[in-house]
Symmetry: C2
Subunit: 316 residues, 2 copies
């Protein structure tokens, strides 16, 4: 059994070393040092170069680093072998931390307090209590549910939206395109955790942002907030900037971007009410990723069913 | 029954209006328009001018805005009538939000990410997962427990310290001076919620900070963190700045200061890893404060026992 780690990111060595550590006895290679392509049985992939996976004739399994698989499905030559998403308590927990942090950050108007601090100004701003703020989560999979679990004890009013209907205790759930406007109209802080699929491309646009928080807005939050830790292809950055500048959007936390790394020229870097992070909302450790990869490889080798298998027609 | 709102802050009018709203039929006066001092039966006080409460011969009850009563006990002429602290779900919830926000902020190295953003730099920093970080809460009263309840779902390793022994599910509890060094040595993020008393004055000094996180420090957090939302008299600001500059302390979030408002000249305003907020960690609404005040007044009038009565020998 020979494994390949394949990535165009700078984390390849780290992933390969961790995989060797957990794969006692297995041959782990790091692209581009593939050796004989026919040797490779399973690949751990993160932003792989297009076309390379198709050149591995005996590939039986692909494991994606990260919960999103758009970086793989966008390769028209992706081989037709089982593709597994990375879903792990480490990843999920980190996403919950990110969501908790960014929701609290804007509910407590921290972008403004940081700006006041920069000016050495001691000034009160009215802040809503958590129970006065409606947080809406788009995407109610493992990560959306983990986010809900950490937000609940603060007392936020929780609501959720997903493609297909879900029921979650204490959360007002909405589903499908038909419910979207109703969901948005009563959401003050929108948290997007959706995958990149043809259906979600450009979803976070001017129209969607204009629909946020139209009824019963918390008087002490200056406007609605967007938090996107899904994928950059969901957001129309020009529309987000437009809404921020017109103040129909109060603030945003963006972890993902149309182009990554976010280009130096983007005004998002310099907007006083935007928090930019380098796609690290849920960056897992190489150790946790490698453990997961090797577990999938062993499950496959021993004929156990694979978990978190991607449905390509759905896109995740 | 005649009530007095007394404060040197700029929130007096707001408090008095809210008290009138909730005190249907009662006469509510706002200092300095006291009228006949003999009329006043109960006072709602926040940073009152010293000596004035002693001039009210028929005062039967004092209610403090805020959980801390040092702003009252520091008045040598404070009349010997029952003094009640403000303890309310609104206040407690806001403190829990503040603690959750500031703990996550530093665990996720946000001060550094904000600095990177300012420089338009897309750069990863290793961050510990919540379950790799030991958060120690000093003060296990109502607010400390509320903070624990919101931190727990993230998976932080929780520990607590209090004057007298306490037992809290899933929290390693330490008590008294004898346990302090042990508690500090295994704390990465210290959250101080202690009241200002003669015993706590200057507690957060160089010696205490040097004792933090000495054993098994999380490799991915650059150093220990101090969060103080107790009282400014607890902290020695020169020592905190010294520890930050020597990098024995990684970062701090301070909501309270030796002198408030924090003087313009303080280097704390401009330190890149310090978050300064204007004593608003748990700033309650006038409405919630007035409701509480009027409830205490009615309890007293109808002979019910008073809640949250201050023990002056203890200082809170």
């Amino acid at each position: 059994m020979t494994l390949l780690v394949i990535t165009t990111s700078d984390r390849g060595t780290e992933f390969a070393e961790a995989a060797r550590h957990h794969a006692a006895g297995l041959d782990v290679r790091l692209w581009p040092d593939v050796g004989n392509p026919a040797d490779i049985h399973a690949a751990l992939a993160w932003l792989p170069p297009k076309g390379v996976l198709a050149m591995l004739p005996n590939l039986k399994l692909m494991v994606s680093v990260g919960a999103g698989v758009d970086h793989l499905l966008s390769d028209p030559g992706l081989p037709d072998v089982p593709l597994v998403r990375y879903v792990d308590p480490d990843l999920t927990g980190r996403m919950a931390e990110y969501v908790g942090l960014q929701v609290l950050f804007h509910q407590r108007r921290m972008a403004e307090f940081i700006e006041l601090q920069r000016q050495s100004r001691w000034e009160y701003l009215p802040e809503p209590a958590a129970n006065e703020v409606r947080v809406g989560i788009m995407g109610l999979g493992v990560m959306g549910r983990a986010a809900i679990d950490v937000l609940r004890p603060f007392g936020f009013q929780l609501r959720g939206w997903s493609r297909t209907p879900k029921a979650i205790d204490g959360v007002a759930c909405f589903a499908g395109t038909g419910d979207l406007d109703t969901f948005l109209a009563e959401t003050d802080i929108l948290v997007c955790l959706l995958p990149a699929t043809p259906d979600t491309r450009g979803l976070l646009d001017a129209r969607l942002l204009a629909g946020l928080s139209r009824t019963g807005r918390s008087a002490r939050l200056p406007g609605p907030v967007l938090i996107n830790a899904g994928r950059g292809s969901l957001q129309v950055e020009a529309d987000i900037l437009g809404a921020l500048n017109e103040q129909t959007l109060y603030a945003a936390s963006l972890d993902v971007f149309e182009v990554e790394p976010l280009p130096q020229a983007s005004p998002l870097w310099r907007h006083p009410r935007v928090v930019v992070t380098p796609h690290n909302a849920a960056e897992s450790t190489a150790d946790a990723i490698a453990r997961y990869f090797i577990r999938q490889v062993r499950d496959m080798a021993e004929g156990r069913p694979l978990e978190n298998l991607v449905d390509r027609s759905r896109g995740y």
